[in-house]
């Protein structure tokens, strides 16, 4: 087990290194530079700017400098937001994205499992069909369609909720719902599928034959094995929801990390883009690592 643990940990390091190297080169290959603006800079000022951000050095030296600073936890100053460091920007943006993602996942698991179970227990009934049809809508309607519709209805027409910005918890309701909807749908389908399968297995039949109440069967015997596929889906889904709320952050004007990332890419804010890539890269690698370790612990075959 320890050998597996160390092995996985060591193999994560080159992955991260390649990621950083690729991102470092790709952002610099993109045409247009961070200091290109409508108004052109006098050559002297541009030279000074390039020197101040070390862009005048050869690429390998820039990379070395970046890695050295990174090792000390310094992401460097932002090119675009000149008074902020990238660490500060990630520090202000990530909690928002994390909050959004975590709330959306909690919502998704609760309602997804609920809807999926109801549909499975009443398989091929009207309830089942309507739940699954709704789930289909949830999966199919993209965020950028759902979000404006929800804003129009709940913020503009009914005025129950704010349309955008982040001033309090009420601002989070619509974006969280938008993020959660497709996940609820997906989890509902997963739960239903696996629960139907488990329902057909002999031990459930045995439980029924023993005269156990349906509630007892559901909570003691049915739910746990039915949720296995959902749990394995949760790892990547959580990472995807946290890192993938870009569109939602844009539409709701939320100060999340996704919005910084998109603006950073458009502005050719090299350090900000690099910072977010490294941060999210580490996060996703860590997530996968944890999942792998849990799997290995659950299933000895993986360790071989």
């Amino acid at each position: 087990m320890l050998k597996f643990f160390v092995h996985r940990l060591l193999s994560a390091i080159p992955t991260l290194f390649i990621l950083i190297g690729l991102a470092f080169c790709l952002i610099r290959v993109a045409p247009g530079g961070p200091f290109d603006g409508e108004k052109q800079l006098p050559p002297e000022i541009e030279a000074n700017l390039r020197a101040a951000y070390h862009l005048d050095e050869p690429l390998y030296q820039q990379f070395g400098r970046y890695m050295l600073n990174l090792a000390q936890g310094d992401f460097g100053p932002s090119f675009q937001y000149r008074d902020f460091t990238v660490t500060e920007l990630i520090g202000s943006g990530f909690p928002v994205s994390l909050q959004l993602g975590a709330l959306a996942m909690i919502l998704a698991v609760f309602f997804g499992v609920l809807a999926g179970s109801v549909a499975a227990l009443r398989q091929n009934s009207a309830t089942d069909y309507s739940v699954m049809a709704t789930a289909m809508i949830g999966i199919s309607v993209p965020n950028f369609v759902m979000a404006p519709l929800l804003i129009l209805f709940f913020a503009v027409t009914l005025r129950w909720l704010p349309a955008g910005g982040l001033e309090g918890w009420r601002n989070l309701i619509l974006p969280v719902v938008c993020l959660a909807l497709p996940q609820i749908a997906y989890i509902a389908r997963l739960t239903r599928g696996s629960m139907i399968e488990v329902l057909r297995s002999p031990f459930i039949r045995t439980a029924r034959a023993q005269g156990l109440s349906m509630r007892r069967i559901l909570f003691l015997h049915l739910l746990k094995p039915s949720l296995l596929p959902v749990i394995s889906y949760l790892g990547p889904a959580t990472a995807a929801v946290i890192t993938g709320s870009v569109v939602i952050e844009q539409i709701f004007g939320l100060p999340g990390l996704g919005r910084f990332f998109v603006q950073g890419a458009l502005n050719r804010d090299y350090t900000l883009v690099m910072g977010v890539v490294v941060f999210y890269g580490t996060l996703i690698i860590a997530f996968n690592f944890i999942v792998d370790v849990i799997y290995a612990w659950l299933d000895p075959r993986v360790r071989l």
Partner: protein, 554 residues
């Protein structure tokens, strides 16, 4: 297979979605934000709101609030509240005394003396002195400051040399004669100087705090300004909050207590937040929503002429447009500007036949074909096109470059189709992301026809005339005309204001003859303003100081 199944799934959902759309729009009816239960301004119509908080949609997040390094309209909007220059503007855009109460000009127009008000204070209570301005000006042109905009100060003695790093900042022609008298020496008479002195590059900065905090001085808790407001919070990508500066010399007359600037790049999001009463003023308006806005929010629509030209440029350093003024004229004449301005843009833009927007006291140059009918212009265009050696069988093939945006696309498509229809030109449209576009346009290696826009930095025709000067690095047409350059240079050093105006008009006339650019329309500023926001007047620079505004009861 997967893609197909996704398509099918979505296609099956379209009716459902459609019904959803219908119900959500149908339930809405007229926007209820303009039919509030309480009449705006109370019973008298002039009652102030108890909560004097203004919430403004403000485009993109400013790069910095350091006035000397900032650039762009969103930053300028905030800096006008945080700092005060020697001059400011009245609500209708007239240049009025700011920190300077009056000023004198020397005989030759090359020396300005400014007399500063003695009651001006920094937001920590320190007096604002002439030395602060000297420090500010010097810092602005110092190449170490990394200012993007310092070249705007080049009329000031030695500024250009300091920016180039040839002379030290102390050599700048800005001197404090005493605590409250400031002298600015200029290379050439610059009649627009007072108008320039409310630009952020000329703002004073608080010396002690700049020296103490270095590049961090413009952060909340550190920024010390001399404007009507002071920085209270800056949550990146969320909001910038300003509160009243109790030390401001005119604070007794200020009414609004708090102002929020929200960075909102997405105009649809902005419109929704405005409709949900979360914003009092929007930074812009989404073009596709204009018809809906005109129908439902017409009274809140604030559209007025803006000091900007929307144009297309020819790269005159390469064929086919090199040394081919007739061909350039043909392309310009074939564009029906009324249709572009009224039907394609449609916010009230003014069709442009010349380069310089309408500016008070400036006589715009008018090409002879301006009062022709469009069919006359088309006929002449066809004649010139044929004369240049092109025809239906041998059409001109060109590439039109624009930066990615729905509005630029619509206008480029309209123009390309006019060219195609009237002359048979094969125009290929190419759009590039902003930063890529800037680089391509600047290099002038592949461009043929490119989109551009120019917003004047100060309310003077010279701000436009100098752009096409051969020495200007923004002259992306690569246009070189000794005649044009001479006229612009002469205008720059002319002391007689009438003659100066005539020279600038003559220069514009030359430009319109040579046609290195195609003016299409003059910009308008577009905002939505809630009926309870008062004190706001349209002005050509679209500059609005929060201290002039107030909020009625609503």
């Amino acid at each position: 297979m997967f893609v197909i199944s996704v398509f099918l799934r979505q296609a099956a959902l379209l009716p459902i979605l459609f019904i959803f759309l219908l119900t959500s729009c149908g339930g809405e009816g007229p926007d209820n934000s303009d039919v509030s239960a309480v009449q705006v301004g109370g019973e008298t119509g002039t009652e102030f709101a108890e909560l004097q908080t203004l919430r403004v949609g403000n485009g993109v997040e400013p790069q910095t609030l350091d006035p000397h390094r900032a650039e762009g309209v969103p930053a300028a909007n905030i800096l006008r509240d945080l700092y005060e220059g020697l001059t400011i503007e009245s609500p209708d855009g007239e240049i009025i005394p700011g920190v300077a109460t009056r000023w004198e000009t020397s005989e030759d127009g090359r020396t300005y003396t400014f007399y500063l008000r003695e009651d001006a204070r920094w937001s920590n209570g320190d007096p604002v002195t002439a030395a602060d301005f000297v420090f500010g000006f010097q810092r602005s042109v110092d190449p170490e400051t990394l200012s993007n905009y310092s070249s705007i100060l080049e009329p000031v003695l030695n500024a250009a040399e300091i920016i180039e790093g040839v002379k030290p900042p102390e050599a700048l022609g800005v001197k404090a004669l005493n605590d409250f008298t400031l002298e600015i020496s200029l290379i050439e008479p610059t009649p627009y100087l007072p108008g320039l002195l409310n630009h952020s590059t000329t703002y004073p900065v608080h010396r002690a705090s700049v020296q103490k905090h270095g590049s961090q001085f413009a952060r909340p808790g550190k920024l010390i300004g001399n404007g009507a407001y002071v920085l209270d919070e800056w949550a990146a990508q969320s909001h910038i909050k300003l509160i009243r500066n109790q030390y401001y010399w005119d604070d007794a007359k200020t009414i609004i207590d708090t102002v929020y600037f929200y960075p909102i790049e997405n105009q649809d999001t902005e419109l929704k937040r405005y409709r949900a009463d979360e914003l009092d003023i929007t930074g812009d308006i989404p073009y596709p929503q204009l018809p809906w806005i005109r129908e439902n929010l017409a009274a809140q629509l604030a559209i007025s002429p803006y000091l900007g030209s929307y144009y297309f440029g020819f790269n005159v350093t390469r064929p086919p447009f090199e040394n081919n003024a007739n061909l350039r004229r043909a392309l310009s004449l074939a564009i029906d500007r009324e249709i572009i301005a009224e039907k394609v843009a449609g916010a009230g833009e003014i069709p442009a036949f010349g380069w310089v927007p309408p500016i008070q006291g400036y006589q715009q140059a008018v090409p002879e074909w301006a009062d022709w009918s469009q069919s006359q212009r088309d006929a002449e265009a066809l004649r010139l096109y044929r004369e240049a050696g092109y025809s239906k069988d041998k059409p001109l093939t060109i590439e039109v470059l624009y930066n990615t945006s729905a509005n630029h696309k619509r206008i480029s498509v309209a123009i390309a189709s006019m060219w195609k229809q009237k002359l048979g030109i094969q125009a290929k449209l190419l759009n590039q992301e902003w930063k890529v576009f800037l680089q391509t346009r600047r290099r002038m290696e592949t461009t043929e026809v490119y989109r551009a826009g120019w917003i004047g930095d100060y309310n003077d025709a010279y701000s436009f005339a100098q752009l096409m000067h051969s020495a200007n690095e923004m002259n992306h047409a690569g246009y070189v005309s000794t005649e044009y350059d001479a006229l612009v240079d002469q205008a720059a050093s002319e002391q007689d204001m009438v003659k100066r105006g005539e020279l600038l008009t003559a220069a514009e006339q030359v430009l319109l003859e040579d046609m290195p650019i195609i003016p299409v329309y003059f910009y308008v500023s577009k905002h939505l303003v809630k009926p309870w926001v008062q004190g706001r007047q349209p002005n050509i620079m679209d500059h609005h100081y929060t201290k002039n505004l107030y909020i009625l009861k609503h």
